[in-house]
């Protein structure tokens, strides 16, 4: 993200309504195109109004950025808009989230919603009623507009308004292409926009996908885009699950994401941390109304790993339950039928087997004895190349390793551990302060125990 830039996000629904006199394909295509064209005019009309969320400000982008609040005039820089947004008091008092905001480049985005002014006179004469009597199919839906633009914070409001309207128009054009490409008869799949934060220098892009068509059927499209944006062709960047998660939108499932980002790096001289890449959810004891206290730690670690593969877009299936995990092991023949419904522990071998059976993911198994320091290098390499969470089992415990750090000068090693034995609520403060997610030193390892590590490998796919 470019420093000194502001991100504005504009959302709203445009009503899409058209009359099809026949179901003849060329006719349908013509009518659809004409309807999109009319929406384009609507978006450029003077009656379009942008509402600045959580503020009393309304902007008329097609009237030069004229605004309601007196202090906002069209030639003021757009960063002035931020001061008018009424922020949630609770949020600003939490120091931890302030730190998170610094690290998260999309923090402080300005949200706007679409409105229309009905008192804006376009047609000046008294109303008329027209009765049409042609039989037709009425196609009706709303288009979920969602535009994101990144502009200099010093850019004037009137220019930014123009940029936003331009973004709406080009999104309509993208939606038209997608709608026509995937249309069958009178079934119009609703085009849905997704935002992706691609590695520099590309940055923020928005891609429109048709609703209801799974990622697996959209590979050709993704190949085109990968080549357009010069993205590597062996890992997913543009699957729906890879879509950028905006900081102001809470996750609906209630699981915490990446609690480790709220921690300070270990205070090591010349220490460089090697961390998990992407996003995972924290799974631990007692979640989902399953009381697995005392036996489910490896299952939870496995769930954390599955959540990683889902959120990086490799799989579409939900994180498996304890039952599904056990079922998978019986299916591959690793366990007998009596295993189902039991409270038996599993180890890294079983974790690897389930990842293979349910997700199609292969893993490397590593044996470590007596806290072997050299294994550190392998772990660091793993985080660099694969970046997946590691499940570690040994003795009577299982944990998840999210990262390692090592000091060149002192030789000290630290391990970033996510502990599945936590039984409390999704309280970020407790989890980070009490070390349920935290950096541990070598004393964390039992010197007399043997450890097995499961290192999941990324499938080569987009």
């Amino acid at each position: 993200m470019v420093v000194g830039n502001i991100i504005l996000r504009l959302r709203g629904s445009l009503e899409f309504k058209c009359q099809l006199d026949s179901t003849d394909v060329p006719h349908v295509q013509k009518v659809i195109s004409r309807t999109f064209e009319a929406l384009g005019s609507q978006v450029k009309a003077e009656s379009l109004v942008l509402s600045l969320s959580s503020s009393p400000v309304f902007l008329w982008p097609n009237k030069g950025g004229h605004a309601t609040a007196g202090e906002i005039s069209p030639n003021r820089p757009c960063k002035d808009l931020q001061q008018l947004i009424q922020t949630d008091d609770q949020e600003s008092s939490r120091k931890k989230s302030a730190k998170k905001d610094k690290k998260n480049p999309t923090a402080g985005i300005i949200n706007l919603t679409l409105m229309t002014e009905v008192t804006e006179p376009g047609v000046l004469s008294a109303p008329t009623l027209l009765r049409g009597s042609k039989k037709h199919h009425l196609l009706q839906t709303t288009l979920p507009m969602d535009c994101v633009v990144s502009v200099l914070s010093s850019e004037s409001i009137s220019v930014v308004c123009g940029t936003l309207v331009g973004a709406l128009c080009s999104q309509l054009s993208d939606m038209e292409k997608v709608a026509l490409r995937h249309m069958k008869g009178t079934a119009l799949l609703i085009p849905q926009p997704f935002h992706f934060l691609l590695p520099a220098p590309v940055g923020l892009v928005t891609v429109v996908y048709p609703a209801g068509v799974p990622d697996s059927q959209l590979e050709t499209r993704r190949k085109e885009l990968h080549s357009l944006f010069e993205l590597p062709d062996d890992r997913p960047y543009l699957r729906r699950a890879n879509a950028l998660h905006f900081p102001d939108e809470p996750y609906k499932d209630g699981y915490l994401r990446n609690p480790h980002v709220h921690l300070n790096h270990p205070a090591l001289e010349n220490g460089k941390p090697y961390l998990v890449q992407g996003v995972y959810s924290y799974h631990h004891y007692m979640q989902d109304r399953v009381d697995d206290n005392g036996w489910g730690c490896a299952y939870r670690s496995l769930q954390t790993i599955c959540s990683w593969f889902q959120q990086q877009g490799y799989v579409e299936r939900a994180v498996p339950s304890h039952k599904e995990i056990q079922q998978a092991l019986v299916e591959v023949g690793d366990k007998q039928g009596s295993f189902l419904g039991s409270r038996q522990w599993i180890g890294s071998i079983e974790v690897a087997a389930v990842l293979d059976q349910l997700l199609g993911v292969t893993s490397k198994i590593m044996f470590v004895s007596q806290g072997n320091a050299e294994c550190f290098r392998e772990l660091a390499n793993h985080f660099l190349s694969e970046g997946t969470p590691i499940m570690i089992g040994g003795g009577v415990l299982a944990h998840t390793i999210l990262g390692v750090a090592w000091s060149e000068t002192t030789g000290q090693i630290r391990y970033l551990i996510l502990d599945p034995h936590y039984t409390g609520a999704e309280d970020l403060q407790v989890i980070t302060e009490k070390g349920w997610c935290g950096w541990k030193g070598p004393e964390f390892w039992d010197q007399n125990a043997y450890y097995n590590l499961c290192l999941p490998q990324r499938p080569k796919t987009i």
Binding site: E15, M115, R131, G132, L138, T186
Partner: protein, 462 residues
């Protein structure tokens, strides 16, 4: 503790000038506004005579009309409904009055009770907006003894059919409404209502229009209202800036209505909905809206409420009138595919006050028709040049699809258009009691006579 009614001096004059010969009874309406603290009455209008021969001389008794039993309640309620259509936002029929000879005073109270409930029920029919908890549901009944001129004022809660009479104060004052703030706006309409396959026009036209307008009315009700360009919080006092003893002057406020373009609450679809339709109804044009507020510390939320209600009322009134007229005329086979002009709104000043009332002119009517109607409904003389017909322009040319070559051809042929044919079946003297007929009386006769004076209908071929 009863309600207090503050009544304009002119009402006292009107009521005392009502000539009520002998033992006959006179009914009428009381027009004004109710606020939570106080109620205001600005106009009193007697129920017009049913007999058109007796028009203009209110002293003609109708023989059997001496007894209260022969009082035509339906006639009174129909008059109330017609008058309601002539009132801008904020103003409404808030009560009824009854003048009886002293011996009928007691029975008169029962009559008043019947009348007020019937009137309220009738004028609420077809209303597209809903009452809120803050709306005052107490209506006033005024009994005047024809001999002693003694006034008895009581209120009933029309929401409760079992409610009993509560005493209320009736106080005359001058200049009650001189400083009533006025809100104005003009609302653009561009609505397309589908006529689903199962419906048959013209019978189901009313149903289709009603359904469509209901959705639109909800949007307006839920919309945001700006007053003089400002999004005021609801509790802010509209007249806040005025000094206490400043000269009472009427302020005008410009209202703007913004509607969010948001996705409807219903479940997320993957494809556009498809409906088979046999036709469509398109309502296009601009309506001019006005509303008055009282001067007793009105708040922004009251202002937005009255102007929104006027917007909804003016559209539903003229659609109702149009449909009633269509019903009376009999279905014109040529009207399909024809853009018909709905009645347009005109304004007339209330004598001696800074308020306006409105009326609706059909395309084939002229100012003298309006003047006649005002005399009949509101019982006052209006000089024709004081009637403002300029607010809503007559559509000169088709306002849709000028690129359509068929339309262009018809524009050239416009000069040869005939007036809309009317079936001369109605007997102008057959003053109807039926609810469905538009209370035409003299106006109907005048309209037929004025056929030749040109129309503003535009014909479009299918």
């Amino acid at each position: 503790m009863g309600r207090g009614y503050i009544v304009e001096d002119v009402v006292e004059k009107y009521l005392s000038n009502l000539s009520v010969p002998g033992a006959s009874c006179v009914t009428g309406l009381l027009i004004g506004q109710s606020s939570s603290q106080r109620d205001f009455v600005v106009l009193a209008v007697r129920t017009p005579q049913k007999d058109t021969e007796g028009q203009g001389s209110p002293s003609v008794s109708r023989g059997a009309g001496n007894s209260l039993e022969h009082l035509d309640v339906e006639w009174v309620t129909e008059h109330a409904r017609q008058v309601s259509r002539m009132l801008p936002g904020g103003m409404s029929v808030i009560g009824v009055f009854l003048v009886t000879p002293p011996e009928l005073s007691k029975e008169g109270q029962n009559t008043l009770r019947r009348l007020i409930f019937a009137v309220d029920k009738h004028i609420s029919k077809g209303r597209l907006w809903s009452l809120t908890e803050e709306d005052v549901t107490e209506k006033v009944t005024l009994h005047i003894c024809s001999k002693t001129r003694k006034v008895v004022c009581r209120t009933y809660d029309v929401r409760d059919p079992k409610s009993s009479a509560k005493p209320a104060d009736w106080k005359y004052q001058s200049g009650v409404c001189t400083s009533w703030p006025l809100l104005t706006c003009s609302v653009g309409l561009n609505l397309v209502f589908p006529v689903l396959e199962m419906h048959v026009l013209p019978q189901d036209m009313e149903k289709c229009m009603k359904e469509g307008l209901q959705t639109w009315a909800k949007q307006i009700e839920d919309g945001l209202c700006l007053i003089n360009g400002d999004a005021m919080p609801g509790e802010v006092e509209l007249l806040g800036g005025q000094k206490k003893n400043a000269k009472a002057v009427q302020q005008t406020f410009r209202a703007q209505i913004l509607i969010p373009m948001a996705e409807p609450q219903s479940e997320r679809r993957l494809t556009a909905s498809v409906k088979v339709c046999s036709g469509s109804l398109t309502l296009k044009g601009m309506v001019q809206c006005r509303a008055y507020l009282h001067s007793n510390k009105p708040r922004a939320k009251h202002a937005t409420e009255v102007i929104k209600r006027d917007v909804i009322n003016t559209v539903s009134s003229r659609v109702e009138m149009f449909l009633e007229d269509l019903l009376m005329e009999g279905e014109d086979k040529g009207s399909v595919g024809v853009q018909q002009v709905l009645p347009r709104r005109v304004f007339a000043p209330v004598p001696g006050m800074s308020l306006c009332v409105c009326d609706y002119m059909f395309p084939d009517e002229c100012v003298s028709d309006v003047s006649d109607r005002l005399k009949e409904m509101l019982d006052w003389e209006t000089p024709e040049d004081s009637i403002d017909t300029s607010q809503e322009a007559v559509p000169e040319a088709p306002t849709i699809d000028l690129k359509n070559t068929v339309v262009q051809k018809n524009l050239k042929a416009k000069s040869t258009l005939d007036a809309r044919p009317k079936t001369p079946s109605e007997d102008p003297t057959e003053a109807h009691k039926s609810h469905k007929t538009y209370y035409a009386g003299v106006a109907m006769a005048a309209a037929i006579a004025l056929l030749a004076t040109g129309t503003s209908l535009i014909y479009l071929s299918d």
